[in-house]
Symmetry: C2
Subunit: 431 residues, 2 copies
């Protein structure tokens, strides 16, 4: 099978180098050699010895190269990368991509284009780097009705939260270090505000529930406002704060949301630290499974790209294409499950309320919750935490609809003795 | 696609029931319905409503039933199950099995038989229940040179060790409870002596390294001699004791061994508790990944059986068979890596030595290790642990060849002040 690599950055160079280093193992697994016949990139990459592989700076060239069976798009972004993918598919080439933004935002048009041309558009590397989680859901869990997926799917965010917890550091401080270490981009918005995670979650939801990609409907909340005292308080209650992407089958559709979340420290996913990723899946027959590994990096991501290549090569050898539908379900049997708005979801909450140190504040807060029929799991207010006559009150509630919680928070903020905004972090137990 | 289920016990009934309950989702994923046309079992199972599905007590009947495309063997064992699998393959039926003993002990004959008949013999359910770990290795990690696989692949053993640690209970005590709860068999040998784990590890090694199945060469050591004080001491050093199956590429072949193992508590696999399973894989491009979930149970195991069914159905629809080689590598490209004997492996060790409370014992022990050029990571001897004038001395060593450690242990046991046998538990850091 003859392939072209388009883009020779971090993932492109990793793909080229792993294919070369492990070529005999890969050929033995795939049933025959996978040969790189062309590399297209704006510039050469000193980590890759191209040898006699054809190199071009014409990014579009592989799309119409008659010697190429598979185009591997590793440019990223939704601009020129989209042109490459469209052109390659239209020319009857299989396409493999690591491009989460492209799949999440344009997948609904790209998959039918691939089908119309009788080729595959594979994207294992677009979610959680090298962890074969798309494969696990679409194939390994094909027996199941998937109930929920929750993932730590942005390594930068998890690194920051881990440092905040382990060393009591502030968000901005750790972010600056992550940028210095190269874990975070100069513009960290995509990572810390949850946009990158929302792209990945959108894809996970589609393969889990067999629904079209609904990126625009995802609720996204970042971690930039997480305060070290919340990390500490969560720990005191037996929880960890993780930046999770959560998608769940619910009464009226599916939930699709990325936000900081308290999870019980007993849950394995709560113990996933540093830049590592993990995806937890709840399924009706299988119960809970978890998939853990490197969510980014040159060769880790290349591992997923090449897994897609091997899948296609194995089918190619039998003159067939992949039998696995792009979104897990046959294109004509996709489900019509809409994303429910965030204020319709139901979960438990962590609230931090800054109040004047007057008697009766706690009673007033408790009364507001009681009026909305919300059960309190725990409430603490430590005099010792007093600052300028203000004492933080920390609450954990039972499950409640988000819009009811909005009303509660409005009512609490309206109390005379409460100062500033109520800090709200969602709580999930996954039990 | 028309299938027959042979054996209607725990896994057979789960398979029947999940196929029925999730039939529309499964059909949408597989590209068409998967229809159970025959069930063969010695007796009916009250949890299954067979409806108009043909039932027979003739176990061999499906093997030659012209209406059956796939025979699902869920009898277990290596007796009649082997006859069923051989007959079905010989009649040109695809076979799916959850039978670890059969694959580990007879796979080297069964896979060529399947190939000769142009059909697949699939066995995802044979390892780690519903966790799609065979798929992860053979497909998801196909880019990689796999370096090592380590797994908690027996839930009974992990339940026992977890109870011993959390509650300070003795092995026999927990085993009795596990038997009462139905987690452990009346004859627990297969579980607690590591034979079940060795079957699964043999299979994992073969798909990871592309080598023939070498069950007879596996080293197997159970957990029945683990003492609560070792569990406690391990914890004091920052380790957990887990019953691991470990297979690793080494200088002269592969290691293949099941034994109690100290692992650093920081490792995610050390935190896998209760009856849960987890498999950790070290690979050259991807680094470390971990796959966690239920390793047994009716519907969890059925999930893996049906995943194999869906794979075959997807290929079947395109008139092809699975392009994935049984052992991950093309049958004519298998590697010739032999299992190295246990005394040739290298790892670190935990030693517990019972010694008279005399001055100089510690120095004598340290000298023996020094003479064999073995570095000591830590050594403790607590007077407070004295019992009848004997004090346990606990050592953690650096990595050393097992046969050198054998000599060291002989020398230590020969010391006048040392009483009884030295307790030795292997230590792995997986870093």
């Amino acid at each position: 099978m003859r392939i072209a690599i388009v883009g020779l950055g971090t993932v492109g160079s990793g793909t080229f180098n792993v294919l070369k280093r492990n070529q005999s193992d890969i050929a033995a697994r795939a049933g025959g050699p996978i040969q790189v016949v062309q590399v297209a990139s704006r510039r050469l990459n000193p980590t890759c010895e191209l040898g006699d592989v054809e190199f071009t700076t014409d990014i579009m060239a592989p799309c119409s190269n008659p010697d190429v069976d598979v185009v591997v798009e590793l440019l990223g972004g939704t601009g020129i990368a989209a042109d490459v993918v469209r052109s390659a598919l239209s020319h009857g080439k299989h396409v493999i991509t690591a491009n989460k933004a492209l799949i999440a935002e344009q997948g609904n048009e790209l998959f039918p284009l691939a089908a119309a041309n009788g080729v595959n558009l594979a994207f294992e590397a677009s979610v959680a780097g090298g962890i074969p989680v798309i494969k696990a859901i679409r194939e390994g869990l094909a027996a199941n009705r998937i109930l929920a997926v929750a993932g730590i799917i942005n390594g930068t965010g998890n690194f920051i939260l881990t440092e905040m917890r382990e060393k009591g550091r502030a968000f901005a401080d750790v972010l600056a270090e992550a940028q210095a270490l190269g874990y975070a981009e100069a513009d960290p918005t995509f990572d810390v505000e949850g946009i990158d995670a929302a792209h990945k979650l959108t894809i996970l939801a589609s393969v889990a529930f067999g629904v079209p990609l609904q990126f625009r409907a995802a609720y996204t909340e970042g971690i930039s406002r997480i305060d070290p005292q919340d990390v500490r308080q969560a720990e005191a209650f037996g929880y960890r704060i993780k930046h999770l992407g959560i998608t769940r089958r619910c009464e009226n559709g599916i939930e699709l949301r990325v936000h900081p979340t308290l999870i019980p420290e007993k849950q394995l996913i709560a113990k996933v630290d540093g830049v590592m990723n993990a995806v937890m899946i709840q399924a009706d027959a299988l119960g809970q499974t978890l998939y853990y590994g490197a969510g980014a990096g040159s060769e880790a991501t290349a591992s997923a790209v090449i897994a897609d290549l091997v899948d296609i090569a194995r089918a190619h050898r039998q003159n067939s294409s992949l039998g696995v539908p792009s979104l897990g379900y046959r294109a004509d049997a996709l489900n019509d499950l809409k994303v429910v708005p965030i204020n319709e979801i139901e979960c438990a909450y962590y609230l931090r309320i800054l109040a004047k140190d007057h008697p009766g504040v706690l009673a007033n807060v408790a009364q507001i919750l009681s009026r909305h029929s919300i059960n309190i799991e725990s409430i603490t207010q430590k005099e010792t935490d007093e600052q300028n006559g203000l004492v933080p009150m920390i609450l954990l509630t039972h499950r409640v609809r988000e819009k009811d919680m909005d009303h509660v928070i409005d009512a609490i903020e309206a109390l005379d003795d409460v100062v500033g905004s109520v800090i709200r972090i969602r709580v999930e137990s996954f039990s």
